[in-house]
Symmetry: C2
Subunit: 321 residues, 2 copies
């Protein structure tokens, strides 16, 4: 027999621009910047393993493989930040991560996996941590694994987060753009966050700080997109497929060349930018559709990460697997 199970949903997060702020304390380290949380996200299910021996005995309800307690879209996976979160909460559990988002493409899937694990593991093991504590634990795990700097705090908040100050709750500070938008995206492949963050980030950080100043002076979606494009150019991060798509969206949304693009409202062709860090282009409104691409479509997500309402063991008969 297995134990309690809980599922958390964590929105995806595309970063529009950022500056890196390393620190010895992973709760203090992080990034400034801004991005969009997405209704396309990650479901993380944590199930405590109360009686590992029952697995070996072939209990019909037990599908966990003790040697592969983490799965990603059904396949055994190694996700360091997830293992670190379980260790920090002292929880022995299997973790199933499910997402329709592309991996390694700038959607914050690793941060979502860590944060969802923290929320669901705290619930199933009744650890009694507060939301700020759980966000801090996930942020620290993500920073220490080098897989991200600002996704976790943004995903905990939801909406269109602006990261004013880096770090976990108690250190960082957030604001947001009061807007919602239809979002389209196309991914052309992976880009290593670790490799970029391990390189010289001085130019990147200068460009990120400049973009943040611009957005703070005018916290609107079109300014977020413009600032993101300027950031990608100044930080020299633009990849050819993404640059081509951004130009195609511009041509489609502003055929008369008068410089006015859409604002991302429904049915409004909007401008496009590159997800940091991924070979991914995202657009407001119908920007990519209008330009002839076949994008995935979602919306900004109004809420932060949260436990789903059937997260308790009385519902364990409804398991997907």
């Amino acid at each position: 027999m297995n134990g309690k199970r809980a599922t958390a949903f964590v929105p995806g997060h595309v970063t529009a621009f950022f500056s890196a702020h390393p620190a010895a304390d992973p709760a203090v380290a992080g990034s400034r910047g801004a991005g969009l949380t997405l209704s396309d996200g990650v479901d993380v299910t944590v199930e405590t393993i109360d009686d590992p021996e029952a697995l070996a005995a072939g209990d019909a309800s037990a599908t966990a493989d003790a040697s592969a307690p983490i799965t990603l879209d059904g396949e055994p996976a190694s996700i360091g930040a997830v293992a670190d979160v379980l260790a920090a909460l002292d929880v022995c559990a299997r973790v199933d991560v499910e997402t329709d988002l592309p991996l390694g493409a700038g959607f914050g899937v690793s941060g979502a996996a860590a944060l969802g694990t923290a929320l669901a593991a705290n619930a199933v093991a009744d650890r009694g941590r507060s939301e700020n504590e759980l966000v801090r634990i996930a942020h620290e795990a993500e920073v220490e694994r080098g897989t991200g700097l600002g996704d976790v705090v943004a995903q905990a908040r939801g909406g269109v987060p602006i990261r004013l100050e880096p770090g976990a709750p108690g250190h960082g500070a957030l604001d947001g753009i009061p807007a919602h938008a239809r979002i389209e995206y196309v991914t052309f492949g992976e880009l290593s966050t670790e490799a970029v963050l391990a390189g010289d980030t001085a130019a990147l950080t200068a460009a990120g700080e400049r973009a943040l100043s611009r957005l703070r002076a005018d916290p609107r979606l079109p300014t977020l997109m413009d600032a993101s494009r300027e950031f990608a150019a100044r930080a020299d991060l633009l990849v050819p497929e993404v640059a081509e798509a951004i130009e195609a969206v511009d041509r489609a949304s502003d055929p008369d060349g008068d410089g006015t693009a859409g604002d991302g409202s429904e049915g409004d062709g909007g401008s496009a930018a590159m997800a940091m860090l991924g070979r991914t282009v995202f657009a407001l409104g119908t920007g990519l559709s209008d330009a002839g691409y076949d994008p995935a479509v979602c919306h900004t997500h109004p809420a932060g990460a949260r436990l789903l309402e059937n997260s308790d063991n009385r519902h364990s008969d409804n398991r997907r697997d």
Copy 2:
């Protein structure tokens, strides 16, 4: 012809306990404490008045009465904090506030009206303010009118907010209990927030600080309820009808008197407490139903206040009025 319109939804908020922290600067003033945001909330629709003369000329689409630009559940109303928010954003508009929540009963309707007005007025008049700025404007209006100290920041956050430090964004600090629950409530009448806040709040604040310490040490829903009950007794705020209901819920949820009450999960009789400040009892789970009351039923709300997705003038044909 009238102008753009936008609608914001703001969750209701019952305060479980609080301490009052007045200050000369209304952005710094506020309260510490904790409570629950509710899926029962307030819809605030703001519609700019572009051409007041069209009203007099009998334009069929114009239903605004220029002499009563604020309505509450369809009736002309005077809500000082709403007028102050419009003034702060320099927006000329009619504001329609609609809610199923009882008024003056401890659900934060006045704070919700102010916060919803800020979000919707910023959208229709394209004021370009950030979310933190809009929350600050609504918080200041509520504090200056003496109608509340902590509802606005809690309603902007959603979930089960813990107010660690008083004040608007940039001054205050929030955490949360990572939980959701079915909530039941019964209201026996109004209680004046202004009168309590204008009185001697020393005992109240000492009791509130003690309750907060207790909850921070154990951020779980049952502890929130226990701390709320202890607070009501120590601050001498309990009214007879509410005290009677709380006792009835205790008897129903713990018939064997063993001291273990429910935790608020679905179908679980849970303990009850008094909403601060109102003649209102609220319970987790099915506490009030089990005790024979006929309560209103809702849930904790996972998200903070937000603009609804049809908030733009292309949808103005779908008006309710």
